[in-house]
Symmetry: C2
Subunit: 136 residues, 2 copies
């Protein structure tokens, strides 16, 4: 089944919907915001997935095993140039209102004729912090 793509006018628009889909475990929306080709997804501690179908399946697996009930995200850095945008985002995973884990993500979006789509999500768990490091 070929998922129809959602349409986004700005990188901020698609990022908001990405985190809505992530928070609500919505696999259909997640499938609609990734580009079909030239994509890379790296979940925390994992290898790189470079195939659209496998990326969407990996999000389905994450959603099936989700034990959190909220994500607060803060943009650490945002860059846009022509048809490419790179955001670094701090994701605070919430369970029962408390932060259970902090993940840093590099999200890359590309502008197609129909609008912006996600082409990369690289996430890593923050396990230790040292001098000069910040999440925001």
């Amino acid at each position: 089944m070929k998922k129809s793509k959602l349409q986004f006018k700005t990188p901020d628009d698609i990022e908001a919907v990405f985190y809505e889909a992530f928070m609500h475990c919505d696999a259909d929306v997640m499938a609609g915001l990734w580009a079909a080709e030239g994509v890379v997804c790296i979940h925390p501690g994992s290898g790189a997935i470079v195939d659209y179908k496998t990326i969407i399946r990996s999000w389905g697996n994450i959603f099936n095993n989700a034990q959190r009930n909220g994500i607060k995200y803060t943009v650490v850095n945002a860059l846009v140039s022509n048809d490419l945008a790179v955001h670094v985002v701090a994701e605070e995973m919430l369970s029962s209102g408390r932060v259970s884990a902090v993940v840093l993500a590099t999200n890359v979006y590309r502008k197609f004729d129909s609008g912006w789509l996600m082409i990369e999500h690289h996430a890593s768990l923050v396990q230790h912090r040292s001098e000069g490091q910040t999440l925001q």
Copy 2:
């Protein structure tokens, strides 16, 4: 002390020098290939460093504690648009000729008047691999 910036004509040029500096623990070269502002560095398992001086100091600390003797890097994905380039790179850390760890990095480069400089390095350790995941 203000380090003078190196000059790179392409994202591939600066990436090659970045890994040369990484492999040879050359803090001066590392200092010369990062932009002075708008930078983000995330070492494996760590928080985000968004200040040039702290980023360069963090590389110095890594070089002081280096126990490997080689890095083999493979570009998983490369994108360029106008003055922004995003590379996903698999880094195989070698000790005595063997791969001791695999790290995935998103490297972002920006084109300035003087040439390309590094503006982001987001690295994460590959701790597990599952179906459909690849390093290349």
